[in-house]
Symmetry: C2
Subunit: 181 residues, 2 copies
Amino acid sequence: MNEGEGRATHSFERRIPEGEERLRLVCRDCGFIAYENPKVVVGAVCLWERKILLCRRAINPRASFWTLPAGYMELNETSLEGAEREAWEEARARIEIQRLLAVYNIPRLSQVQLIYIARLLSPAVEAGPESTEVGLFDWSEIPWAELAFPSVRWALDHYRAGDGKAEYPVQMNPPGELGNM
Amino acid sequence: MNEGEGRATHSFERRIPEGEERLRLVCRDCGFIAYENPKVVVGAVCLWERKILLCRRAINPRASFWTLPAGYMELNETSLEGAEREAWEEARARIEIQRLLAVYNIPRLSQVQLIYIARLLSPAVEAGPESTEVGLFDWSEIPWAELAFPSVRWALDHYRAGDGKAEYPVQMNPPGELGNM
């Protein structure tokens, strides 16, 4: 929705517009089509020495479970800027992106996740408004049973599998996994 | 916008909702927030032997210029399925995705592009409704001066740079380039 379109009042119905093949939200009055698009989640496995930054979620879904700093990409930013912003918002962490770790698809949620590996510029992290607690975890300390989403586990496993390798291809969903809990 | 929200009538204004820090489209009447999100473009460098599939655009922007088969990802599909769908819609091409070539950011357009390398299952391609012409091009035949978008050139260059290498990292925007024409 661009600004002009956004300011108008629309009365949407779901129908197939002329020349298209899919159901869309079309305004009964003016024909404006509000396209619905998949959302991009950007985040990072953030490292201080060999410790990994995790955030305990303050909000639903999955409040009180642990996650990587990640969230919806905003307009007019790059995916790298988005991952840096989320690390700040959720954990007051300043990071430097090192490489793309994975592209995950969660089609049930119409979500594409771009997960990077990043270096923390300082170990001084603290909970932002969407976290109740943040921490730096050794591999052996990761609370596997309390992770918020399957894709958090995927990213941790993929980080670990590539750790120390000079070249490691960008990963995708583990075979057969679509992110359903 | 979910289905229920989509069916309602809203009168949007742009303001900062309570608890947020950014301008959003908020319904004056009910407070519903229509989040605006970056869009995902999915596409592929599609190969038959060493020839590359290009499509001459039937529609604006950049009608009559050449592009890779690519377009907006739809709800409830994966990025790979989206790239396969676009190859069919634009060039009646059946493809098999081989690997992720690049993740490009075009922040001015709030666009993330996921470009794959794919193998054509047959050289029998023909223009779909959004193309006037499609063709298989040797590297020396690529119409560089008539490419539709900078990211088409980036993807062709990145494909060429990685051609024949066993491992080739996923590429990003060329340094300093943000996709402005």
